[in-house]
Amino acid sequence: MNDSSLDSDERAAASYPGARLPDRRRTVKSFGVDLCVSEWGDERAPVIFCSHGGFDFTGTFDVFAPLLAAGGYRVVVWDQRGHGDSGHAPLYSWDADVRDLLTALDSTTREPAILLGHSKGGSISTYAIQAAPHRVRAFVNIDGMPSHRPPPDVADHERTKLLATELSGWLDHRRAAGDKVRRADTLGGLAENRARQNPRLSKAWLRYLVTRGARKDADGWRWKIDPVLRPGGFGPWRATWSMARLASLPVPLLGLLATESDPMGWETRASEVKPYLPRRAEVVEMKGVGHFIHIEQPERTAKLVLDFLRNLA
């Protein structure tokens, strides 16, 4: 962001204790979409390749990634299509995200890497490992493990009405999405907006995240994420398919699970996933932490990850 366009208050928001901008940034073309890839740490060090969650962006790793880099790793984070500083695309899908992940990984190293993913980033990493196991040597999944919680106990007729509401809402959004722009607000307004998803983050941390995930236009600040994207949705995918396939993961796994309830949280419990874990797996329920584990508690999370990797060696 051009610093000269910021007022003194906004300039102050653009720094936060422990946060460090990436050491290197580059653009990788993935089938016509520009992906922004950022790196911290020694380029010759072993790679930890990180995927952010849905509606998030690389800047959410600005405290966590330098801590991992200080542990002796080359930490790479990529913005998914439509997110952060990557390009917007005509369509979005799971397969497209996984192909993008492997394109960004291939541009980083040809050696098997350590994958780390948060939320949706954990899920697409899981899929990528199953599709291309030779590209990975260990995996850290941060609150992105599936849950097979049963759907709400409602009568079939009520279920029809619920589905009808979701479908018409989604289709109405698609009809209008081509002309949508995200709402402009003040930096403080967007920080308050993010606080609804991250109720345990400090105001200063939230304001810093706005300076990384939003841009300042002539009429105010707006999130960079593609307005075509919409949280929630529906589709034929069943979480139970992902759950059952956890057992087939061929690499050591560290799973970190939140215990505090958050609006974006998956609320997966260790007892749910334990029957499906592969042999070399460790799952930690983090007391007092919500869905955005590495953003809420970067030091504690980095220590767990570095200890896990040290034990592998």
Partner: protein, 217 residues
């Protein structure tokens, strides 16, 4: 043949007017890898009103995408954009278009005045359950349209039977039609078998279905 350009999010869709006329339109949805016919097919000739056909995203004269991202739900959005232009319509889908016709009949039950499901390419999709995770990279030198990503992704698109029956149930409960779906298929993938079982529909001919929906208000 007149072609109307419609916007679906960032995609430009080609909606072809095969025959002008008054009254409710018949909207044709093509199969996987196909494009809209250039004139009214013989099986739809008995329809007395206007006849339209839409090219799905990545097919015919509609937009191609960057790096894929196709799903049946996106194509349901294509059909919905055609309905935004046409208003209430009867749908006739072949193969992939038949599955899309079922989805949109459930999603827009008051706009779709009957959906006719016919054999064609891409009727089965990727089956009832997700296959072993894999990534397929289409030939980068392939013919541009249909988009090779569309051919790969829509052929692998998962179609669980209970997902399909949820759309049938919506069409049945919310359309007000006695028979919101007409099945004219010889091929019976699991999703269609499940819809037939739950609905207790009889399989009919395309011509009879077209005649039946022409009488629906």
């Amino acid at each position: 043949m007149k072609t109307i350009r419609l916007k679906h999010a960032r995609i430009e869709l080609a909606l072809h007017e095969l025959r002008a006329g008054d009254g409710r339109a018949l909207l044709l949805l093509h199969g996987l890898g196909e494009r809209s016919p250039r004139e009214v097919p013989a099986y739809a000739a008995a329809w007395s009103g206007p006849v339209f056909a839409v090219d799905f995203t990545g097919h015919g004269e509609s937009s191609l995408t960057s790096g894929g991202g196709y799903s049946a739900e996106v194509l349901m959005g294509d059909a919905d954009c055609a309905l935004r232009h046409l208003g209430r319509a009867t749908l006739l889908g072949r193969g992939l278009g038949a599955y899309i016709a079922l989805l949109i009949a459930g999603a827009r039950p008051t706009l779709v005045r009957g959906a006719i499901l016919c054999d064609g390419l891409g009727l089965a999709g990727g089956g009832a359950e997700a296959a072993t995770p894999s990534l397929v990279y289409p030939n980068p030198h392939a013919v541009a349209s249909p988009d090779p990503f569309a051919l790969v992704e829509l052929a692998r698109d998962v179609r669980p039977p209970d997902y399909a029956t949820a759309f049938w149930r919506q069409a049945n409960e919310l359309s007000g039609l006695e028979r919101p779906i007409a099945v004219c298929c010889a091929e019976r993938p699991d999703w269609l078998e499940a819809v037939l079982k739950e609905s207790e529909l009889r399989v009919t001919t395309v011509e009879d279905a077209v005649a039946e929906y022409a009488r629906v208000a």
